[in-house]
Symmetry: C2
Subunit: 347 residues, 2 copies
C-alpha cells in the first residue's frame, strides 16, 4: 500500500523519539510489516514548522533540532505554518498530536485533535488531556468522519495496554480493569517498603527524574485518574470524564501502614479501577492493599501494569514500562500499525 | 461486511467452547466489533458431519452433541462428508482445525491445515501439532494463497500471547522470549513449594485434571517445546522445528532444590526461552531459578505467562490462563478478529 503521510504537532521528547525510531527502523517496518510512514510536516513552537509533500527525512529533522534547535536548515516547501494551519493544509493522512497540554482544559491539544478529526485525518496522540476530557465527543467525530483516534501512549507509554484491551480482548467480556498506572507513586511506595518515609521517597523520585518539581498530579492520583478514564472509555465503551473518578492519593500513607501490609503478606499500591455493574461503569483511584500473590503485587519501581478481568478468560495481566522517550515514541508506532491494519494493510 | 463463513473440523471440547461463545455472544460480536461469524459446516468423527451454506445454528449443534451425540437431528444440506471433503467442498472462508493430533507426526491435523490453505481458506487452529512441526511450509503456503494462518490457542490458550508479540509489538524489536507455557508443570512446582514431593504433586495435578494419565509430554517439557517453536516462528519469524529445542524436564527436581531456591529468594519455573543472537535464534526448555522480583516468579498454579524482551520497550509481560474450554474457544474468536481486521473489517 502507499505510504501513510504523517504530520507531527510538537517535536519535543516524544516527537523526537518517534523520529528516532523511524530513522533507525523505518526500512524494517516497511519490509517486515508493510508499514511505510512518511513525515510530511512538523509544527513545533521551538523548532518552527516545515512541510514537504514528498516527505522530510527524520534523521535530518533530529539533526536540526539537536544542532541550533530550529528547522531553518531543513529543506521544505512551506514554512512557518502554525499548528492549526499544518493540520488543515499539510498533505497528511495521520496527525500525531504531541503538543503540551494539561488535564484541566486539555488545550491546545484538544483543539488540535478536534480540528484534525474534523478534517478527516486519523489522529494518534500521547497526550492524556484531550482523550481524558473529551473522549465521547472526539470518538463520535472520528466515527462520523470514518477515521481513527488512537492514544496508546496515554496509558503505560508504549506498553500496548489499550490495544490489548480494545482489540485483542474484544468480545472476551471485560468486566473490570485494575492497574498500576503511575510510575512515580509506585516508585515512592516501593521505596517506602525499603524503609524510606513518604517525604524521603518522594525526594528520591524527584532526584531520579520520575517526579515533577510539583508532584501533586502524581501524588494526588490525578494522572492515574486520567488514565482510568481513557481505559474505561476505550476498552469498555464508557463515556466517563475526570469528574466521574472517585480519587484518593498516597500522601496519607505512612511507613506504619506499609509495614502493617507487609506483615499481612500484602503490598500497598495506588490502584486505578474500573468496574462494570450492569449499565453503570464506576471508576476510582485509591491506595489499596494487594495480596502478594496478585500479579500486580510484584510490580515494583516505575513499572506499570494492568489486569483485565474478563468473562471468558478470567484475569489477563500486562506488565511493562510506563515512561521513556523510545517507549512513548513506540506507542505512536503501535497506533500507526493499528491504523495500517484497519485500513487494509497486512498485520 | 458480509459474514465470515466457518467450517469446524472437530467438535470436541474446543469446538463446543467456540460454539457456546458464538451462541451466547454472536450478536454482541456482530454489533460491537462487526465480526459476523456463520458456521456453515462441522465435521466430527463422533457426531458426524453437516453442511449448510446458509449457516448452522450453534445452539442447535450444541444441543445435538449433548443429546444423542450425533448431528442426525440437525437440518443440513449435506451430510457424511469426511474432514477433507468438508475442507474442499464446504462454503467456507475460514477452516477451524480442531481435530486430534500429536507432536510426533501432527496428523491428521497437518493434512487438514495444508489442504485448507491450498484451497485458499484462512485457517485458525488450537492444535500445536501442525504449527509446531511445519510452520515454515504452512506459512509459505498461506502467503502464496493470500490467506492467514492463526494459532492463538496453541500458546496460553485464549490469552493473546501470539497476537501481542506478532502484532502489538511489531517493530519493537523482540530479542528474547521467556515463558511459563505449561500449566501442569507449573502447578506441580507450586505444590512442591508448599511441601509436596514431585510424585505427590504430580498425583495431585492428575487428580485436579491438569495432567494426563501419561504426563510425560508435560513433565519432559515436550508440550512447552512445541509452544516455544510456535513463539519463535510466529513472533520472531524464525523457522525452528521441535528438534531445534534444547529440552530438559522437571522430573529431576527435588524438594531440596525447591527449598534451596526459596532460601535464596528464588523460585523454580519450567522456562521456555527463545533468544535472537544475530541471525541465529536459539530455543530451549529447562527448569530455571527465577528471582522473586521477576514478573514470571509470581505466576503460580496452572497460570501461564510470557515475557517479551524488546529493544524499544524493555520487558513486556503477559499473564493469563493456559487452559480451559471457554478460554481456548475464545482463542479462535481472537483469531477470527485478527482475520476480520486483516481483511478490512473495523477493529
Amino acid at each position: 500500500m502507499s505510504a501513510l503521510r504523517l504530520a507531527l504537532i510538537g517535536f519535543g521528547t516524544v516527537g523526537q523519539g518517534l523520529a528516532r525510531i523511524l530513522a533507525d527502523r523505518g526500512a524494517d517496518l516497511r519490509e517486515r510489516y508493510g508499514l511505510d510512514v512518511r513525515i510530511t510536516a512538523v509544527a513545533d513552537l521551538r523548532c518552527g514548522s516545515v512541510h514537504a509533500a514528498d516527505g522530510l527525512d527524520p534523521a535530518r529533522l533530529l539533526a536540526a533540532a539537536g544542532a541550533d534547535g530550529t528547522f531553518d536548515a531543513v529543506d521544505a516547501e512551506d514554512r512557518g505554518w502554525d499548528a492549526l494551519t499544518t493540520i488543515r493544509e499539510a498533505q497528511a493522512d495521520v496527525v500525531a498530536e504531541l503538543a503540551f497540554t494539561d488535564l484541566a482544559t486539555g488545550e491546545p491539544a484538544l483543539t488540535h485533535v478536534r480540528t484534525a478529526l474534523e478534517h478527516g485525518r486519523h489522529v494518534i496522540t500521547t497526550n492524556k488531556g484531550p482523550v481524558a476530557l473529551a473522549w465521547p465527543e472526539l470518538a463520535a467525530t472520528a466515527r462520523r468522519r470514518g477515521v481513527r483516534l488512537e492514544a496508546e501512549g496515554t496509558v503505560m507509554s508504549g506498553t500496548p495496554a489499550l490495544h490489548l484491551g480494545a482489540e485483542l480482548l474484544a468480545g472476551a467480556g471485560v468486566t473490570r480493569i485494575e492497574g498500576i498506572l503511575n510510575g512515580t507513586t509506585n516508585y515512592v511506595l516501593t521505596r517506602m517498603e525499603a524503609g524510606a518515609d513518604f517525604g524521603e521517597a518522594l525526594a528520591e523520585a524527584q532526584a531520579e527524574g520520575y517526579a515533577e518539581a510539583d508532584p501533586s498530579g502524581d501524588v494526588e492520583g490525578i494522572d492515574a485518574a486520567g488514565k482510568v478514564v481513557i481505559l474505561a472509555n476505550r476498552v469498555m465503551g464508557a463515556e466517563l470524564t475526570m469528574a466521574d473518578v472517585a480519587r484518593e492519593g498516597i500522601a496519607g500513607l505512612t511507613r506504619a501502614d506499609v509495614e502493617a501490609a507487609a506483615a499481612a503478606g500484602e503490598r500497598w499500591k495506588l490502584i486505578g479501577r474500573v468496574e462494570r455493574d450492569g449499565q453503570t461503569v464506576r471508576a476510582s483511584v485509591a491506595p489499596r492493599r494487594v495480596p502478594a500473590t496478585h500479579p500486580l503485587a510484584s510490580v515494583g519501581g516505575a513499572t506499570n501494569a494492568v489486569t483485565y478481568t474478563t468473562e471468558l478468560l478470567g484475569d489477563v495481566t500486562l506488565i511493562g514500562p510506563g515512561a521513556g522517550k523510545l517507549a512513548t515514541g513506540y506507542a505512536l508506532i503501535a497506533d500507526l500499525l493499528a491504523i495500517h491494519r484497519a485500513t487494509g494493510g497486512a498485520a
